[in-house]
């Protein structure tokens, strides 16, 4: 499965890079979808099947669509942006911070004993059924909290987005 890891990783990183660098907003979103699918593939690779399906269902099916709708609603139908602001202070400082952070994190990870751990090779499979049981047994309060959070977010998003419409009426 080594090759799979490298290919998927390459796709994922490429998707992420394109998502934050492309000029066209819609292309950015498409790249982001590539990234999401790459992450989902990683989950499948890590035998978290359920999570992979959830990742596709939620991120590709919902979040990406949401972002697309947001782009369309901000009257930027073609998705193009102004001229590239490369070489600006912002660009350099941001990239530098990110790069330094990546290098430092890499150092930290490589310097740690954790990094050398290999998979236990256990055949045990944490299936969707187990997750479901855990969700309604020990984790029911967080589950409900998340439910409330999502409801609140739903209502909040509607209210925020509707506010000015109501005003203009």
């Amino acid at each position: 499965m080594n090759i799979a890891f490298w290919i998927i990783s390459a796709v994922t990183v490429l998707g992420a890079l394109l998502a934050v660098t492309l000029r066209n907003l819609v292309h950015c979103v498409l790249a982001l979808i590539l990234f999401f699918i790459g992450i989902a593939a990683h989950y499948f690779l890590l035998r978290a099947d359920f999570l992979g399906a959830v990742q596709i269902l939620i991120y590709v099916g919902a979040v990406a669509v949401l972002i697309l709708f947001a782009i369309m609603l901000t009257h930027n139908v073609t998705g193009t942006e102004g001229p590239r602001e490369v070489l600006g202070v912002k660009w350099w400082s941001g990239s530098a911070i990110a790069a330094v952070l990546a290098i430092l994190l890499k150092k930290a990870i490589q310097g740690d004993a954790l990094s050398a751990i290999l998979p236990a090779g256990a055949k045990a499979h944490s299936s969707a059924a187990e997750i479901g049981k855990a969700l309604v047994a020990g984790w029911v309060v967080p589950l409900e909290a998340i439910a409330i959070l999502l409801t609140a977010a739903l209502i909040g998003a509607v209210v925020i987005a509707l506010e000015e419409i109501r005003k203009s009426r």
Binding site: A70, L73, A116
Partner: protein, 103 residues
């Protein structure tokens, strides 16, 4: 040879940095949000990697990942709603122009 945990962690770190770079360098609020989504996902990837390598028997990490995904979804919904509201107000989604709170 199998992939060690470190590879996943480094992958997640790289993705995190890419997302951070996007959030820091781009002017468009929607892309900033996208960068944040990338960071979120890399963090969740870390969780799942640790689960796979260290705590395979219990699904707790997966539960945590599911909760994180749900919260990220809520966050993106609210964030995009805010972007739309801001757009209505400023006729722009340029984060550099949102500086009402300047000191």
């Amino acid at each position: 040879m199998s992939i060690p945990l470190g590879h996943y962690l480094i992958l997640a770190a790289i993705l995190f940095a890419v997302g951070l770079a996007g959030a820091l360098t781009r002017k468009n609020a929607i892309i900033v949000l996208m960068g944040i989504e990338v960071m979120f996902n890399s963090a969740i990837l870390n969780l799942v990697a640790f689960w796979h390598y260290k705590h395979f028997a219990v699904p707790t990490a997966q539960l945590f990942a599911i909760f994180a995904i749900a919260i990220a979804a809520a966050e993106s919904a609210i964030g995009l709603a805010l972007v739309i509201a801001v757009y209505r107000h400023y006729q722009s989604v340029d984060v550099d122009k949102m500086k009402e709170l300047k000191g």
